[in-house]
């Protein structure tokens, strides 16, 4: 069973409008790579050229900010929930 990933409004154009999608990987980084395989272009929105999560993007694993866990190296188990949340309200 893959992880559940919650997608914010500004990124739903990549997921065909879906608010929640499934993606697999042993770490958050691997899940992001799987998202990119399914929805080309989405990774560039989430990560900078050096592969780090962009400053204005927050990723939560089961409600905890991965910046306070192990960033993209944070381990993911089947059935975990990842939420991608814009850091700001946006206007």
């Amino acid at each position: 069973m893959p992880a559940k990933v919650r997608i914010p409004t500004p990124l739903r154009r990549f997921t065909g409008g879906s608010e929640e999608v499934g993606a697999s990987g042993a770490t958050v980084g691997a899940v992001v790579d799987d998202l990119e395989r399914q929805f080309a272009g989405i990774k560039e929105r989430l990560c900078d050229e050096e592969g780090r999560v962009r400053r204005f993007v927050n990723i939560y694993l089961n409600g905890d900010d991965i910046r306070f866990l192990s960033h993209l190296e944070t381990a993911v188990k089947d059935g975990d929930e990842l939420s991608i949340v814009p850091a700001i309200a946006g206007g």
């Binding site: 914010p8 962009r54 949340v85 814009p86 206007g91």
Partner: protein, 329 residues
């Protein structure tokens, strides 16, 4: 008593009073700061001026629109004793409405996305306003929709200034921000730059400046993508377009990358002693882009607020790395 700044009816913006009866009398009359030195290799005949809207008593440019909308509500009877002021806001308008409500004795309820900064929530609570949170996943549009729902349930009890559709929003800038810039530059302003949140600032100020000199260029700074980190600004192509926003009145739009805007905020702090919010970084990015193309000109940028209310946010997430790349001499 001083005439109320922000509600001037002629071209001359009243000077800020030395002594005021109400915080509301202190709205407007903000200064320009010359930040030309932020540009490298600019023509010596170009000036870059930042209008420091953080000097307003509520701490942002939104004080102007909020006061104008509330006063209009009182004048028309739409706001009367027994009613509550309600609106959806990403923060600064909420702070302004909460301040004005407190000063005038009206209760205030605000709908905002749960991911607005902690400082904003605290300030709004300090003014005694009630906050209803909408989903952070849906951004400011989620707050707009939730506010509509609240109104559908108890409409008659509420006065909704509706900053996205209320013509008093751009009007406030036509009557105060525009004249202030015209006077402070002695009519020499050639370019005006503001970010688009509701569009009120850029529309209203732009109309005034064009009325004085049709050649003044009106330029909007806009996030370069739907997913961005420029709090207070809207990426129009992917948003509910505000009714007061008339894109055809703009001379140009400059797309702003969040990362560069954040870096400019760090640089302003380190080089000018000026800590501002991310939307000021966005305005400066657009200002520098315009300045590089010019041989001569006076560019005025709106710096919507100061930075204290973002210290807990992701804005500062990259500051250490930036500092390492730009060590002090």
């Amino acid at each position: 008593m001083a005439a109320a700044p922000g509600m001037a009816t002629d071209a001359a913006a009243p000077p800020a009073p030395a002594r005021a009866e109400s915080v509301l009398d202190l709205i407007g009359g903000t200064p320009l700061l010359d930040v030309t030195a932020m540009g490298r290799g600019l023509s010596p005949r170009v000036r870059l001026l930042a209008k420091l809207e953080g000097m307003n008593p509520g701490g942002s440019v939104k004080d102007r629109a909020a006061l104008s909308m509330v006063r209009h509500g009182l004048a028309t009877g739409a706001l009367a004793p027994g009613k509550t002021i309600v609106d959806s806001t990403s923060g600064n308008t909420g702070i302004a409405l909460a301040m004005i409500g407190a000063a005038l004795g009206y209760p205030v309820t605000l709908v905002m996305p749960e991911n607005v900064s902690r400082e904003r929530k605290r300030i709004i609570h300090a003014y005694g306003a009630r906050v209803v949170f909408s989903s952070g996943m849906e951004g400011s549009d989620g707050a707009i929709l939730k506010c509509r729902q609240l109104l559908a349930e108890g409409g008659a009890r509420y006065f909704k200034p509706d900053q996205y559709f209320n013509e008093m929003n751009p009007r406030a800038h036509f009557e105060s921000t525009g004249p202030e810039i015209w006077e402070a530059t002695e009519g020499r302003v050639t370019h005006f730059i503001a970010g688009i949140g509701t569009g009120g600032t850029v529309m209203g100020t732009g109309r005034y400046l064009k009325s004085r000199n049709a050649a003044v260029q009106i330029i909007a700074a806009e996030p370069d993508d739907a997913l961005h980190g420029l709090e207070g600004l809207k990426h129009m192509a992917s948003s509910i377009v505000p009714g007061i926003y008339k894109e055809q009145e703009l001379d140009a739009k400059v797309p702003v990358p969040t990362d560069t805007a954040y870096d400019l905020v760090y640089e302003l702090a380190a080089r000018f002693g000026l800590v501002v919010g991310q939307s000021s970084g966005a305005a400066l990015y657009a200002g520098l882009r315009v300045a590089r193309e010019l041989d001569a000109g006076v560019i005025v940028m709106i710096f919507p607020d100061f930075g204290e209310r973002y210290l807990s946010t992701n804005l500062w997430a990259g500051w250490k790395e930036w500092q390492q790349r730009h060590p002090r001499r």
